[in-house]
């Protein structure tokens, strides 16, 4: 099955995305450093998930005032997180389902099962919540968030990151 990338996109956006030129001149590649059965895997979502009792929500009030701005910060979400601890802020999506089963965007449960079955070496202790709407410059991600997350992943001995744009 070949996925229709634009099936659920508003029609007014489709032509622009389909006709977009390739944005990067070079490819990127880091081979998996160990066999997948030995690899520690972390997860990242841009669905705007955060821990409602201990973390600030993503700053959607500023986005309402500055429509081209998106909160570039991120939240660390532990693998032990419970559904009732999770909330979400994202003005470009209906967040209802994240409050019922956050695994649709951050599949800690499925990867925990893969760990238990030996399909991966382990699921990392911490995972990452971003809010996906960003301005085109992406300075906050480039200058701060990405280097910080990369450092955290390396410090935790993570071999692979599964990213799910929302």
């Amino acid at each position: 099955m070949a996925v229709d990338s634009f099936k659920y996109l508003p029609r007014s956006f489709r032509a622009g995305f389909e006709g977009m030129a390739v944005q990067e001149e070079t490819t990127v590649w880091s081979p998996l450093a160990v066999p997948i059965e030995q690899a520690t895997v972390a997860l990242l979502t841009s669905a705007g998930l955060y821990l409602k009792e201990s973390q600030p929500p993503f700053d959607v009030e500023r986005e309402r005032q500055e429509p081209t701005w998106g909160d570039p910060t991120y939240r660390v979400i532990p693998r032990t997180v419970r559904q009732e601890e999770v909330s979400a802020e994202h003005l470009h999506l209906n967040t209802r389902d994240f409050h019922i089963d956050f695994n649709v965007a951050l599949p800690i449960r499925a990867f925990g099962q893969l760990e238990a079955d030996g399909a991966i070496g382990g699921l990392a202790d911490e995972h990452y919540g971003f809010m996906g709407f960003q301005d085109h410059a992406l300075e906050g991600w480039r200058e701060h968030a990405a280097p910080e997350v990369a450092r955290r992943l390396k410090d935790a001995g993570v071999h692979a990151l599964v990213l799910a744009p929302a």
Partner: protein, 116 residues
């Protein structure tokens, strides 16, 4: 974007996305495509089998891909009709940037009408 930056730091990445054709324009290392509504990269609420199938595709690509721009599309259909699914993923009100662009277009059209 994030995937490229992390990959450049030496950690293998795989993107699981509803828009793999768009993702490929950024030349990522590995892409899993899913034909699901936005916000649901791993499937439906409480559907553990569906979520696991997508997770397994990500693991398979991490394990088997040997070169950049590798892609694997998941052979699963969203079990809700397209019109309903399209409506369900949308926010209750237009996002600020969409509302901003609508206002700008209306202002432009009003200026054009006044000039004619």
């Amino acid at each position: 974007m994030l995937a490229r930056l992390i990959e450049e730091s030496g950690i293998a990445t795989v993107l699981v996305t509803m828009m793999p054709d768009l993702a490929e324009k950024f030349r990522p290392a590995r892409v899993v495509g899913v034909e699901f509504p936005f916000g649901h990269a791993f499937g439906m609420v409480d559907d553990q089998a569906m979520q696991r199938t997508v997770a397994e595709a990500a693991v398979r690509l991490l394990s088997e891909a040997t070169e950049p721009e590798s892609r694997l599309d998941v052979d699963l259909e969203w079990p809700i009709d397209q019109r309903t699914a399209y409506r369900d993923w949308q926010p209750a009100e237009a996002s600020p940037i969409v509302a901003h662009n609508i206002r700008r277009r209306q202002e432009l059209e009003a200026r054009r009408a006044a000039a004619n």
